[in-house]
Structures are given as structure tokens and as C-alpha cells.
């Protein structure tokens, strides 16, 4: 009989006592039908705590795993380390004031979050957005999709052991940051979208930069496909890892590319077209295997579809036109009006003070296809400028719930690859 090593501390964490007790108890209760062998002379069983401070958990995710040798017999995810109470804050802010907070949710694709909130408010307050603004939003949304998938690609492959990819994808991300810097004035948290349109039009430089990126990026993508698609190490590391069938994926409520990798072509851009996506010609990439390699293919193909959408947007976009609704009750007046007319100044003040007021008792839901999946805002209005209740349906939350199921029965060394493949963002999941 092996003696327990006295140097290894068996002490459990002491802060938040009740919380720690509850989560360890829950780990024991899970799959209560499985018989646990308490003798275990070789001491192959152990409980492993991974995170919340771990570079491969992509933020502050804590994973509790019960291991039998190298196999995860059961696991629990502990989330909430990045909980900031965004929904509570939303109830105390006007709709426009709340918009910059959405940047901090899925901080890898801030533009999509801005657009999702603005579209939801425009729907409930019945505001029509000018065509050119919709095209600007679509182009930037697709750019942010590419930017988010680039980060996924870099980190996922870094988790699998190849470091140089991280540098290559971040070089491309840097170009997108530069574009956003030119378009919105910020590199990271853009806050460019406004209720009723966008803040400012593309400058000629910005347009040229986007066109240049669209021209050059497909070649980069082709190169990456060349390195990875037939790479023995990469394929072996991902093929069949974390496989989930389409029925299980629907039951557990996966979202976005993880769901499409199981064969369900659920893409909000097709399912319930918003903005002008119904006029666009693009494919929804799907795979049927449902493993990590299928998720890789889905996301890679989505990037090239995004490029196609941006090209079509440039072809169809009106060359000139308003970029914000010209109605002082619905949107901010332009700065020219604010600085040179009394009415403009009053309207600006009213928009900042009260803002858009949807009808009393109205409820509505609008979702967009964010890079990680369906991002929806459910708004209940009480007729004032603040939402009575604003609920965020975040894709990372759904995907993390699926991850808890997927991790059962996998090897412990695959945990980091699986977390990378699911691409959760804790700011999104924890709200």
C-alpha cells in the first residue's frame, strides 16, 4: 500500500468556503451510477484543478477534473470569475450609454456586439437604418469575425504545440486593428455603431485599407490551409477529439461553428436574416464529424466566406448617402448640427439625457451571428429610456455548457486543445 506523500498538500482552497464545498460535492454527485473504486492501490485517481489562472483556459475559466490515469472521468466547469453584472448595469443606463459596455463582453469581436445591441434597440423602437450604414456595419462585422477566428486559430494551434502560428495570425489581426483604428478611432473597443446608424463614414484611407486586406488575406489563408490540412501532427491531435453527434449538440444547446461542425446549418444570417444578409451570396460551412478538426474546417471556411461578403458589400454599397437616421427623436444629430444650431444642441442633450424610448410594455428579441455563435438581446421596455430588463444570450455560455459534456471521457492532455477548439470568451460567458 502506497503511503500518501506528505509533501503534497491535500488542503482544499479556503476562500469562499461554501462555494468550494458545493462544487466538490457536485463533482462527486455527477454520474452517480458509476461505481467508484475506493481501494485504488496505484493511486491513479486524482482530482485536478485547472485554472482559473492558466494560459490555456483563454481567460479565467476553472476546470475541475476527476482523473483516472490520463482519462477524465468527469469534470465540472466553474465560471463567474469575470462576472461584472452587465445586465444589472444595463437596467441603469440609457440604451446608447450601455453600448460601450457591450464591447467588453466578447472582447475579441467588439464590433459584432455593438451591432447586435443597436439592431435590437432599433427593432424594439422601430428605427430604420440608412442603407449605407447597414453596409458599413456588415463589412465591419465580417472583419471582426475574421479577427476573432484569427485569434482562435493562433491560440488553438499554440495549445496544440505550434508557436509560430500565433505570430502569423496576430500579424493579420494587427492589420484589422489598424483598419478599426482608421474607421472608428479605436483599435480594440471600437464603439463605432450608434442606435440609428454608425458614428462616422469610412474615410478614403479606411476603405483603401479594407480593400487591400481583402485582396491579400485569401493568400495567407491558402498558405495556412497548406500547412495545416495535411499536417500529420495537427490532424492526429485533432481528429476524433471531442466528437459530439448532432443530436447531443442540439440537446446540450451548442452554438455557432461548434454546432455547425456537427452538421446543423444553424446560422442566423440565413435562419433569420438581419441587415442585408438576405441579398448576399455566401455559403454556411458545415461538417458532420463534430470533432475538433471539423470545427477547424468550419471556422477556416467561414473566414473565406467573410471575405466574399465584404467584396459583395463593396460592390453593392451606395457611394454616398446618410450614415445615420436624420430624426432627432431616434438618433444623435450630426456634430455639424450640434456645433452650429441651437436645436441640434438641444437634441444632442436630449439624446444623452433620455435617449431612445421604446413603447411601454414592448418586448423583443433580436439575434445576430457573432463569430462565436448566436448573440441575442432580449429587451423588455417600460417606456423610459432605460430597459426594464435586458437579457444577453451569449454564445460562449452555451458552448461552455457543451464543453462540460464533451470533456467527459477525453484525455487530460486534450483539455487545452478542446477549450481552444470551443473558443469560449469568458467576458461573453460570464456577462
Amino acid at each position: 500500500m502506497m503511503q500518501p506523500d506528505p509533501t503534497i498538500s491535500r488542503k482544499k482552497p479556503t476562500y469562499f468556503k461554501e462555494h468550494q464545498e458545493a462544487i466538490y460535492k457536485s463533482l462527486e454527485d455527477k454520474h452517480a451510477t458509476v461505481e467508484i473504486d475506493h481501494s485504488d492501490p496505484l493511486a491513479t485517481r486524482m482530482t485536478l484543478n485547472m485554472g482559473p489562472q492558466h494560459p490555456a483556459t483563454h481567460g479565467v475559466l476553472r476546470v475541475l477534473m476527476e482523473l483516472d490515469g490520463e482519462v477524465i472521468t468527469k469534470c465540472r466547469l466553474d465560471t463567474g470569475y469575470l462576472h461584472r453584472g452587465i445586465e444589472k448595469m444595463a437596467e441603469n443606463k440609457t440604451y446608447q450609454e450601455f453600448m460601450p459596455y457591450t464591447d467588453r463582453m466578447d472582447y475579441l469581436s467588439p464590433y459584432s456586439n455593438n451591432v447586435a445591441l443597436c439592431l435590437a434597440v432599433e427593432k424594439i423602437a422601430n428605427i430604420q437604418v440608412p442603407v449605407r450604414a447597414s453596409y458599413i456595419r456588415m463589412i465591419c462585422c465580417e472583419l471582426s469575425r475574421i479577427s476573432s477566428h484569427l485569434l482562435w486559430l493562433g491560440t488553438m494551434i499554440m495549445d496544440a504545440g505550434a508557436l509560430s502560428f500565433f505570430l502569423w495570425t496576430f500579424r493579420e489581426r494587427e492589420k484589422i486593428y489598424d483598419i478599426f483604428d482608421e474607421v472608428a478611432g479605436h483599435r480594440f473597443t471600437v464603439s463605432h455603431s450608434r442606435i440609428g446608424g454608425v458614428n462616422n463614414d469610412f474615410t478614403p484611407v479606411a476603405e483603401e485599407k479594407i480593400r487591400k486586406f481583402v485582396r491579400e488575406f485569401p493568400d495567407e489563408l491558402k498558405g495556412w490551409h497548406k500547412i495545416l490540412d495535411r499536417n500529420r501532427i495537427f490532424v492526429d491531435r485533432n481528429n476524433g477529439v471531442g466528437a459530439i453527434g448532432h443530436e447531443d449538440a442540439i440537446a446540450i444547446g451548442l452554438a455557432g461553428p461548434s454546432l455547425r461542425a456537427t452538421g446543423i446549418a444553424y446560422d442566423i444570417r440565413r435562419f433569420e436574416p438581419y441587415m442585408l444578409y438576405d441579398e448576399m451570396d455566401f455559403m454556411v460551412p458545415t461538417r458532420t464529424e463534430g470533432d475538433n478538426l471539423a470545427r477547424y474546417y468550419c471556422r477556416m471556411e467561414e473566414m473565406s466566406e467573410s471575405i466574399r461578403i465584404i467584396e459583395q458589400c463593396f460592390d453593392r454599397m451606395p457611394k454616398k448617402g446618410p450614415i445615420r437616421v436624420d430624426d432627432a427623436k431616434k438618433s444623435y444629430p450630426s456634430k455639424d448640427e450640434v456645433y452650429y444650431s441651437m436645436e441640434g444642441l438641444i437634441h444632442d442633450f436630449m439624446m444623452t439625457d433620455t435617449g431612445v424610448c421604446p413603447p411601454e410594455g414592448a418586448e423583443s428579441y433580436l439575434a445576430i451571428e457573432a463569430p462565436k455563435g448566436e448573440l441575442g438581446f432580449y429587451i423588455q421596455s417600460d417606456g423610459t429610456g432605460h430597459p426594464w430588463r435586458l437579457k444577453i444570450k451569449s454564445p460562449s455560455f452555451s458552448n461552455l455548457q457543451g464543453l462540460e459534456t464533451i470533456l467527459d471521457g477525453e484525455m487530460v492532455a486534450d483539455t487545452v486543445v478542446l477549450i481552444g477548439g470551443m473558443d469560449p470568451v469568458m467576458g461573453d460567458s460570464d456577462k
Partner: protein, 167 residues
């Protein structure tokens, strides 16, 4: 979205529920149904098995801040076959905030119900693992209730020790 499909769907639900259906509200596109609390579980089963709402998107909790039927829980369902969203609402009283769980119908309700419990204190009967999801178990308040102050309650959470010796 096809309005015929929606009308047929609402017709079928009306026939199934009868008096159990209290109110139908159409947001600009999607139907929202208010149903009786006792009919929740069998309605959900009916919607999944017969009407093909196999995908549970989310569960939303709301605090209406009224003296009766204070909380509202909204189940957001998606039918991938008919391209249709449906919102099913039930109301719960503050005195006894308990609802039957739907985790046996949709497995993905697990975390969503935990979130509603965490934020509003509505308990779900029969839930396999009802713990708080974002906040630690030591926290005794339900932050999305309207009476919870925006700045929080001082001293409600013991902060972790920042020194290695825990003193």
C-alpha cells in the same frame, strides 16, 4: 418567416392548452405565450415532441416588481425545421418561487436554470445540480432582483486572502 406556419402553430398550441393559455403577444416577429404555471412541464414536452421545438436557446428571468406573480421566466425555443422562434412565459410568486425543471426535456436547460436561480432565486424542482453559476455559494443575495442596489451590499462577500500565509 412564414406567417402561415406561425398561425398554424398558434392554432395547434391553443387547441392543446385550452384555458391554460393566458395571453398571446406578438413582438414584431415572434410569438410570446403566457401559460399557466401548472401546465409548464407538459407544454414543454408537447412543444418538443409534437411541434419540433428541439433547441432550447435560453431561459430568461424577469423581475416584474409587482405584488402578485412577481417573477416571470421565459423559455426561448427554436424550431429548426419551421424556422420559428417561440417564447413561453410562466409567472411565479415571490412567496414560493419554485418551478418544475425542464432539464429532463432539454439537457441544455441545466446551466440556464442555474443562471436564473443565481440571479433571481427561483428554484427549479428536480434540477440535477442546482448551484449558483456566476456568484459564489457564500453570497446570500439575488442581484438581478430590483431591490438589490446597483452598488452592491458592502461586506456581503468575503474577499480572498491576498497573502500567502492567510493572515
Amino acid at each position: 418567416m412564414n406567417t402561415d406556419i406561425r398561425d398554424n402553430l398558434l392554432q395547434d398550441i391553443r387547441e392543446y392548452l385550452g384555458d391554460g393559455l393566458l395571453e398571446v403577444y406578438l413582438d414584431y416577429k415572434h410569438p410570446l405565450l403566457l401559460i399557466e404555471r401548472d401546465r409548464l412541464h407538459d407544454t414543454c414536452r408537447f412543444l418538443k415532441n409534437t411541434m419540433h421545438f428541439i433547441y432550447l436557446n435560453e431561459i430568461i428571468g424577469t423581475d416584474r416588481f409587482t405584488s402578485e406573480d412577481r417573477f416571470e421566466v421565459i423559455y426561448h425555443l427554436v424550431s429548426l425545421r419551421d424556422r420559428q422562434r417561440l417564447f413561453v412565459k410562466v409567472r411565479v410568486d415571490e412567496e414560493l418561487p419554485v418551478l418544475p425543471t425542464v432539464t429532463d426535456i432539454w439537457k441544455g436547460a441545466n446551466w440556464n436554470e442555474r443562471e436564473v436561480y443565481d440571479m433571481f432565486g427561483i428554484r427549479f424542482e428536480g434540477h440535477p445540480d442546482l448551484r449558483r453559476i456566476f456568484l459564489p455559494e457564500d453570497f446570500k443575495y439575488y442581484p438581478l432582483r430590483k431591490e438589490f442596489p446597483l452598488l452592491g451590499v458592502p461586506g456581503s462577500l468575503e474577499m480572498p486572502n491576498s497573502t500567502p500565509d492567510h493572515d
